[in-house]
Symmetry: C2
Subunit: 218 residues, 2 copies
Amino acid sequence: MSVEQEKIRVLVVEDHHVVRQGLVALLNVVDGIDVVGEAADGVEAITQFRKHLPNVTLIDLRLPRMGGVDVIQRVRMETPQARFIVLTTYDGDEDIYRALQAGAKAYLLKGMTSDELIATIRTVHAGKSHIPPAIAQRLAERMGTEELTPRESDVLEQIVHGKSNKEIATELEISEATVKTHINSLLGKLGVTDRTQAATAAIQRGIVPLESLRKPKS
Amino acid sequence: MSVEQEKIRVLVVEDHHVVRQGLVALLNVVDGIDVVGEAADGVEAITQFRKHLPNVTLIDLRLPRMGGVDVIQRVRMETPQARFIVLTTYDGDEDIYRALQAGAKAYLLKGMTSDELIATIRTVHAGKSHIPPAIAQRLAERMGTEELTPRESDVLEQIVHGKSNKEIATELEISEATVKTHINSLLGKLGVTDRTQAATAAIQRGIVPLESLRKPKS
DNA sequence: GCGAGGGTCAACCTTTTGGTGGAGGAGGCT
DNA sequence: AGCCTCCTCCACCAAAAGGTTGACCCTCGC
């Protein structure tokens, strides 16, 4: 094999400017890795992906305009062989799960060392996956839990937003009795005993994003 | 004045390895700025500060071993002229407030540009403060609100952890009637109408850290 | 066609929560 | 001493939430 080996072409998607800059600088001095593009939001990420068709895409989940999970889904719809490494601070089990479901090959917590990151890029490029033990642990825990139905998720979201049963009924245009039915069901699935626990569980697990609490659009 | 101007000596405190690395690399190529130390946790931060006595300290609030706010307090106790720039992702109004109370001179959100960061370092080194409009906005909002008493905070924390009034009474060794009194009071102060809203408000404002929800130590 | 699961609703009941007013004691500040 | 805040507690009430059972209607897959 020649000294001119093929470089791994990497796309970096990260909205935090200094972090992205740091990642790019870090990776560009590594032998065999070439950062071919950068994106600061989800929409740009897709554009950049189509343009450069990178071997590996490093992506944060929290992005403006379009979330990381959606980006992964979209891109893999048209390019199934696309390899993604999710690189994020911990945002709740739900995101881990959905990212891996969407086809992410690795999940790294910010805070890993440069060596870990580089090693993971090579691993993923070689077609393998890489899930750190801490993440695998959470995934395993999540497995035992039942999925919420769409309607139950609607109700849960309203609960997190501090709505009463009556308000939820009005909002979703169903009777209060139905709201109670859903709540009773979702309490069981979440393994909690009241709405307050359901709310904190939802936030903590990332089922309902914390940002949505700021200023309700309604 | 000579060409050999005095450089601004900077200490970078940030637990995320790649982010810290990026910041240091970024700042070290800037004219007139010299990164004299790095720290990955709060305890190390204090050690490094004493060792280098930097002009400006860049610090994240979420740190292992000792939080950023505590570091600022400690250091300014022994070195009141110490200048801190808080550099963090948004963790709730409470942290902003407490960091500035502790004597931070500036508060920057990760995601700012390198230019903003550099400009702020110079500004702070010159003895001025720098609070972005978005942050000032939140501070202003917080001003109108009343402080919770220590006991009310205790109760609120229990609420966030999903305890019932009865459980809270047992936990804090007071009667359920007293718990109700505190709750009634804190609901008013938080401007909410029930415990679920109180819980989400507490999390969102950073009064009760989300991490404490994982596995209760009890 | 039949069962399973999801969504809708009702009646009934118990427990919890929130709202109000009052009241006494401890500690701090003037 | 007076005044204030905080913490403590009680009683009473109304509203909300939680638990249970049973029911009807879809749709989807077998």
